[in-house]
């Protein structure tokens, strides 16, 4: 479960979020929607503790922002799969190596990694592209590679920060469907978007954010 209790955060250069109360239940699929600069990314960064709230508490599973030790933050992040508009794929590694990276971080053996990577690459429909480097993949393929990298460690939560921002409508729709499949297996999905037309037809909760404040 993700829970934000009266959370506020402000950047040095300006305002971030104000008095956010939000709960995402286990296994839920929720969208957060709002214009650029409204605070969606800040909210997601607070959830994976890239930043800590000025006031209030962020709770993710057994972790809490007010009591977590700095060295435990990587553990929290291992339970979260992150995908973003910019992909953050490593350009000097092929698809297989990019997807395998989280397992190296955890300390899996080479043979286990190989089996799991092939399985998850198949799950996102990129079989046959294992040796391709990010620049040799289309935008949609790069985003699915990103999803494969997030899924490989079987996370409890997927945080998606504008993952369809650089995709055409058809590819964007395919990605949302893929996320729904992942959610169908019990993973919580929380996706930020400013594309209302893409998400309005989906039967999921939509949280709206404007100027750092939630709107019902």
């Amino acid at each position: 479960m993700i829970k934000l209790e009266n959370v506020s955060y402000s950047y040095k250069k300006g305002f971030g979020l104000s008095n956010i109360d939000l709960t995402i239940d286990d296994g839920e699929f929720a969208f957060i929607i709002g214009p650029t600069g409204s605070g969606k990314t800040t909210l997601l960064r607070l959830i994976y503790l890239d930043i800590l709230p000025d006031t209030g508490i962020v709770k993710v599973g057994k972790f809490s922002s007010n009591s977590i030790k700095k060295r435990k933050i990587p553990q929290l992040r291992r339970s979260i799969g992150m995908i973003s508009q910019d992909y953050h794929l490593l350009k000097d590694r092929n698809l297989f190596e990019n997807v395998a990276l989280p397992l190296h971080v955890i300390g899996y053996s080479k043979s286990d990694i190989s089996d799991l990577v092939i399985e998850v690459i198949d799950e996102v429909g990129l079989t046959g592209k294992e040796d391709h480097f990010p620049d040799e993949l289309s935008g949609g393929e790069q985003q699915r590679a990103c999803l494969a990298r997030a899924l490989i460690k079987e996370p409890e939560i997927i945080l998606a920060d504008e993952p369809t921002g650089n995709l055409d409508p058809v590819t964007a729709f395919d990605l949302v469907k893929l996320l729904e499949e992942v959610n169908g297996e019990g993973t919580t999905v929380f996706m930020a978007s400013h594309n209302y037309s893409l998400i309005k037809s989906r039967n999921h909760r939509i949280v709206e954010i404007h100027d750092g404040k939630l709107r019902n």
């Binding site: 990587p74 929290l76 992150m82 953050h88 794929l89 971080v105 300390g107």
Partner: protein, 288 residues
């Protein structure tokens, strides 16, 4: 173990991935260590020269006429106890007469009917001493001894040679230190540039739950590999150069460059330490 092997592999692969920066770092380590190595060799040979010079330092002590050979022997024993004295040779009145006879082919005793030559002693100072050797205190102590008539010495010359040697050593150390400092800065900046270019990688690693040490280690290993390559190249060049120089010198003179090659071990150690320091310094700026 799996993690360590992966990071070790990453460190090695990084050498290829960051070819240009690796080349810069290896080349600076190579240049710095070659210079430090030359200074090491110079220091070792300077040591030989100063030991040779010190073997030539002589202090001649003349005893008063009233001193018997027995008393002279006692004074010589006292002189030997002075710190910095390496050896003493007593020349009795009889021996002095014989030396005069052999050198000038004249028998003074036959001529004067008595032996006018005093007993004396030649003092050699210690050769193996790091830094400045002070002969002033030795001379002063000898001069103040009862029974000593006069002391012949090259105090001014010796002090001058020792001062030049001491200042030379200080200059060598300062140059070596400055070179190492510059190398640390170069390595640090090179790695900083590498890391700056890899901000995306660091961000991605953080996002997937990598610990700071997991992110740091490949860069530290990369730095160590660079230093080993740089040190190996420098060691090879120094060994080859000294070997070549000795081959040529051996053909034209009897003089060669004696080198204790154990210093190469120090060279490797210095390389690893400066690269560790340089890489840690660079990484700590980006990963806190």
């Amino acid at each position: 173990m799996n993690k360590f092997l992966f990071l070790l592999g990453e460190g090695l692969k990084n050498l290829w991935r960051h070819k240009l920066t690796v080349f810069t770092a290896v080349f600076s380590i190579f240049l710095a260590l070659t210079t430090v190595g030359i200074l090491f060799i110079a220091e070792q040979n300077t040591q030989k020269i100063i030991e040779y010079m010190r073997s030539k330092y002589k202090i001649e002590v003349f005893f008063t006429d009233s001193i018997t050979d027995k008393q002279a022997e006692q004074i010589v024993l006292e002189i030997r106890k002075i710190p910095g004295v390496y050896s003493t040779t007593l020349i009795t009145k009889e021996q002095a007469l014989q030396i005069y006879k052999s050198q000038f082919n004249e028998d003074l005793f036959e001529f004067l009917d008595y032996n006018p030559l005093p007993s004396s002693c030649v003092v050699n100072v210690t050769r193996k001493k790091d830094g400045l050797l002070r002969v002033d205190s030795i001379i002063d102590k000898i001069q103040s001894m009862k029974g000593v008539d006069s002391v012949n010495h090259q105090r001014r010359l010796i002090n001058r040679i020792e001062k030049i040697y001491d200042q030379g050593l200080l200059a060598l150390s300062a140059v070596a230190f400055a070179i190492m400092l510059v190398t640390v800065m170069i390595i640090s900046n090179t790695i900083k540039l590498t890391i700056y270019a890899k901000k995306d990688l660091i961000q991605a690693l953080k996002m997937i739950g990598a610990t700071n040490s997991f992110i740091r280690l490949p860069y530290i290993l990369e730095g160590i590999f660079q230093s080993i390559i740089g040190a190996s190249l420098a060691a090879g060049l120094l060994y080859g150069a000294v070997y070549g120089a000795n081959e040529i010198l051996g053909q034209i003179t009897t003089f060669t460059l004696p080198v204790q090659w154990s210093f190469l071990g120090w060279l490797f150690l210095i390389a690893v330490v400066i690269s560790l320091f340089g890489s840690s310094r660079a990484i700590s700026r980006f990963i806190k």
